[in-house]
């Protein structure tokens, strides 16, 4: 993320969002690499955005509203998320978006690539900007979005209460439009007033209620489980695997039991 600044530094931009979630912190951390919920949970926001845009009378010159660039990619099909890839590291860390991500197709900001080339040389600049990681989880409770300079902190307050802070950063030496897009992403996706946020929080709270009801003993996170899965090894896999969730629980269990498990 720091490499994306032509001068190699970041500055916190504005106040962080603070969003209270009535659910366990682990649900939020799992959600960061859950690539099978967006097209279902966010159909109400992203799907509706696509429908409105399609129904609007427009010519080729009609500018796409910013909401279409930020929110609409949540409606990408399963295939998109499968091909996006997922990487897990030992001790519960991992990230989605190995090959591409929902942040890959953002429009270019004039002057940015030029200033990056000047600072790093063309090859290195291309390498830095070619990294399109979606969500990077630093277990237990930090998530970073490198391509859009966002850090989210999941702060557990009780077994059923989590405060989510979402911070954004300005890339020092880069054009203003970048921090403007980052601020837009933050408010459209992660604010207590965000429609996408409403979609997610409703699911978390319903899931929490379900867990409290004690009707089911197990939560299934077997998606794309492979026989002999070794979580002590780094792996790059199909983007819809739940390996990263298993990786988190493996780390959690070891840390909570002091290595006894």
């Amino acid at each position: 993320m720091v490499d994306r600044s032509p001068v190699g530094s970041l500055t916190v931009a504005g106040a962080p969002l603070r969003y209270m979630h009535r659910c366990n912190w682990k649900m939020l951390v799992e959600n960061q690499t859950d690539t099978c919920h967006p097209m279902v949970a966010h159909e109400s926001s992203a799907g509706t955005a696509v429908k409105i845009w399609e129904s609007m009378e427009k010519t080729e010159d009609t500018p796409k509203p910013p909401a279409m660039e930020i929110i609409a990619p949540f409606m990408s099909p399963y295939e998109f998320f499968e091909n996006m890839g997922i990487r897990t590291w030992p001790n519960g860390h991992g990230h989605t978006g190995v090959h591409h991500s929902i942040h890959s197709d953002y429009s270019a900001i004039p002057g940015y690539f030029e200033s990056m080339t000047e600072a790093y040389g063309e090859d290195r600049a291309k390498e830095i900007l070619g990294e399109n990681r979606h969500n990077t989880v630093y277990f237990p409770n930090i998530m970073i979005k490198g391509p859009i300079q966002q850090l989210r902190n999941f702060i557990p307050l009780a077994e059923d209460k989590t405060l989510v802070e979402s911070w954004i950063f300005r890339l020092d030496g880069a054009p203003d439009q970048l921090v403007a897009r980052t601020a837009m992403y933050n408010r459209m996706i992660n604010a207590p007033t965000s429609m996408v946020g409403h979609d997610d929080l409703e699911m978390y709270e319903r899931a929490q209620e379900g867990l409290m009801a004690d009707g089911l003993e197990w939560v299934n996170i077997q998606r794309l489980y492979e026989e002999g899965e070794d979580l002590t090894q780094e792996a790059v896999l199909n983007g819809t695997t739940e390996r990263q969730m298993r990786n988190q629980f493996d780390a959690w269990k070891r840390f909570m039991t002091g290595g006894a498990a």
Partner: protein, 155 residues
């Protein structure tokens, strides 16, 4: 514009929101108008810092359509809201343009939860083809920097 027209407009707009007359409410907005709700107290920059809302016509329409959507699970059951208004203070007034600021108490409820927000609402109004319309609206929440749960409707 007359002070009475402005006052009536502000009261009518809040009434539409409370009654869920969202499509009529969308018709009040000029094409370039923005609904801004800052995140920080006395926030000056809506673009390069995070706000709670900074929404153009497309986003407002998306909000309204989403509230009516069959697959909007966070609105099953639906939220309700209620505005209690002080008399608008008119800060600028001319034949076809005005600015007013209004203190409001806003209540939003869903299921067993109810939330009270104290608001300072700034309206920028213009008369276009005889109709008064919204050219811009800024809503400052008194505790804008608090950790909220969902705010799903429009304060």
């Amino acid at each position: 514009m007359t002070p009475e027209e402005i006052t009536d407009f502000v009261y009518d707009e809040a009434w539409m929101l409370d009654q869920g007359q969202y499509h009529d409410w969308l018709d009040l907005w000029l094409p370039d108008a923005i609904y801004w709700m800052p995140l920080n107290w006395n926030q000056q920059d809506p673009i390069n810092e995070t706000s709670l809302l900074y929404e153009d016509n497309f986003m407002l329409r998306l909000r309204v359509e989403r509230l009516h959507g069959a697959r909007t699970f966070s609105q099953k059951p639906k939220s309700r809201c209620h505005h209690l208004l002080n008399r608008p203070r008119i800060e600028e007034i001319s034949d076809d343009e005005a600015r007013a600021v209004t203190q409001m108490h806003y209540i939003e409820t869903r299921l067993d939860e109810q939330m009270l927000l104290a608001l300072t609402v700034r309206h920028h109004l213009k008369r276009v083809e005889g109709r008064i319309m919204i050219a811009g609206k800024r809503v400052d929440i008194l505790n804008c920097d608090a950790a909220f749960g969902n705010i799903q409707l429009l304060p």
